[in-house]
Amino acid sequence: MTRQLTERPPAATGPAATAPAAPRRAGWSGRKRRDFFVFLALALPNLVLIAVFTYLPLFNNIYYSTLDWTLGSASATVVGFDNYISFFSSADAAKVLGTTAVFTLVTVGGSMVLGLLVALALNSKVRGTTFARSAVFAPYVLSGVGVGLVWLFIFDPGYGVLAWLLRGIGQQSPQWINDPQLSLVMVIIVYVWKNLGYCAVVYLAGLQSLPQDVMEAASLDGANGFRRFLSMSVPLLSPTTFFLLITTLISSLQAFDLIRIMTPLGNGTSTLIYEAYLQAFGAFNRAGYSASISVVLFAILLIITVLQLRFVERKVHYS
């Protein structure tokens, strides 16, 4: 996608750029000046909003992270790196980073693997795949709050469907909500349920764009379905896989709604984003400390994005 952007010569941006070729360097012509102000009138409101509410907070966060500051209090002390030091030297850091790693890796791996399997099913030539494709994608667009509540009810150890099914086979329902480890498992399951449709649809688009002649040649050569899948589809899908890896990684690191609804106390499910929220807007109102966690999260996201920009052009391209 970025390739398309950069390869486009700037001259192709429309008639305004190409039509008056002769007096191009003539300076500040009336038309040029008019275009200058037209551009500002059209684009400035949006650009200012992006600057104020997207870029400015990044710098403010870094500044706040150097403060010992209680949210709502009028005074703050500059403490330099103290917030970072106290975060990384506390027992919380290992727990929060560990939870973030487990949550992110399992949700990314789970939704990608299951997404690919669902995509293979959707790619079969039977009737109803269009409907199934929409159905599988639907949870991705639904409110995380609503979805979280529905699943919380399903997991309810007393009156939930799951407990009822388990009773049917003579088992007790596990304490999904009170046990920190199980609550992480629960949130992961629901997160994968909500997001695998996205992976499935993207993988399906990838499968459908595979070169049919190559696949047919392989099947005439006697490669069976599974062989062809492993040695042809999987490598040919690597650009799709890479795209999904990056996008799902970034969104998993930002997962908030489900965690907030299903485990409000963050007991066992406190990822970086949730810990940052709890520290600032929970009981303690530690704004500076929370900002330092946000900066750590942002640094991780930045590294992933930079890696994407570096690798997406080079490594995975077949065409």
Binding site: M1, Q4, L5, R8, A12, G14, A16, A17, A19, D35, F39, L42, A43, N46, L47, L49, I50, A51, V52, F53, Y55, L56, P57, N61, Y64, L120, S124, K125, V126, R127, A132, V136, F137, A138, V141, L142, G144, V145, G146, L149, F153, G158, Y159, V161, W164, W193, Y198, V201, V202, A205, G206, E216, S219, G225, Q254, D257, R260, I261, F298, L301
Partner: protein, 327 residues
């Protein structure tokens, strides 16, 4: 498809799965005399169109995974709707029944009297309508300017918009809270709407689309004396309706579902949106007996988007998976 049944030169094979579906369980028998091995030119293949093996493979490989995947999505949502219609006694029971005994909307009434649900609903509608309208408008204007209006360092500006697309809003909530609360925007609808108005996503998507428009039609309009404003509204916008619809729908969905920001900037029910209001409802009803009421609340937040999605899913899927398939 290619995974499940090797491509056969026999054209009848292509019709195999669909015929076997319509012929049902006796498809195999029909195939036994329908396609004998009489054709001398074609070497005998394993996957004759109506063979029993092929039928089984179509069902096992084609339908069962599809049905399973669809059920995994639908059953929880169906359970939500059914439970929202149940009396507390039908929910707090070890003896679970699938269907509610009678269709009554008591849970919905209780949800609306426990918390000001109508107010939440209206707030969500206002935030979504106003927010999405302004965002789409800003996206159209910015994308037009970036593509069709001459300006120094346009590409650099576009890169800055692209980078903004990658900045997660969650990282910005504390500074934005401090900024908006300082401006007096706490517990106001404008405070909910304002920080999200800048739109990198819509700008990016529409810019990509505008780049593909043929320059000739705009040149013709320019020669006719049409200014930027007329070119935008009389040419660019009318030919870009599908792309604008995509941006609009994705924006509507994300505004409606937005949670973390309204959660932080509101703490009074009068200005809460539906997802935040549901959290409030959860606090008062989340003790087991209130599941029916909570499911009624979940229906109210989920079903509107589900309906929009069902009607216009093509645009939404295209918008949300944008950039996945490299051209």
């Amino acid at each position: 498809m290619s995974l499940l049944s090797p491509v056969s030169p026999d054209p009848a094979a292509a019709a195999g799965p669909s015929s076997s579906r319509s012929s049902g369980p006796d498809g195999g028998a029909q195939g036994a005399h329908g396609a004998p091995d009489a054709d001398p030119g074609i070497p005998q293949r394993r996957d004759r169109p109506f063979s029993r093996a092929n039928l089984v493979r179509t069902i096992a490989g084609g339908y069962i995974p599809l049905i399973l995947a669809t059920l995994v999505v639908f059953l929880p949502l169906l359970w939500m709707v059914l439970s929202s219609l149940k009396q507390p006694g039908e929910i707090i029971t070890m003896d679970l029944k699938v269907l509610p005994e009678s269709l009554n909307l008591e849970n919905y009434q209780t949800a609306m009297t426990t918390v000001p649900f109508t107010k939440f609903f209206m707030n969500s509608l206002i935030v979504t309508a106003v927010g999405a309208t302004i965002k789409v408008l800003l996206a159209v204007l910015t994308a037009y300017a970036l593509v069709f209006v001459r300006f120094p360092h346009k590409n650099l500006i576009f890169v800055l918009v692209l980078v903004a697309l990658m900045v997660p809003p969650q990282v910005s909530i504390l500074p934005n809270y401090i900024l908006i609360a300082g401006l007096g925007g706490k517990n106001t609808l404008w405070g909910i709407i304002l920080p999200g108005l800048g739109t990198a996503f819509g700008t990016f998507l529409l810019r990509q689309h505008f780049m593909t428009l043929p320059a000739s039609i705009l040149e013709a309009a320019e020669i006719d004396g049409a200014g930027h404003w007329r070119r935008l509204w009389q040419i660019v916008v009318p030919v870009s309706v599908p792309s604008i619809a995509t941006v609009a729908l994705v924006t509507v969905v994300s505004e409606w579902n937005d949670y973390i920001w309204p959660l932080i900037i509101t703490d009074r029910p009068e200005t809460m949106t539906l997802p935040v209001g549901l959290t409030l409802l959860q606090n008062s009803e989340g003790n087991g007996s209130g599941w029916g009421i909570l499911m009624a609340g979940a229906v109210l937040v989920i079903v509107p988007i589900l309906l929009v999605f069902a009607a216009l899913q093509r645009y939404i899927v295209a918008g949300l998976t944008q950039g996945s398939v490299t051209g």
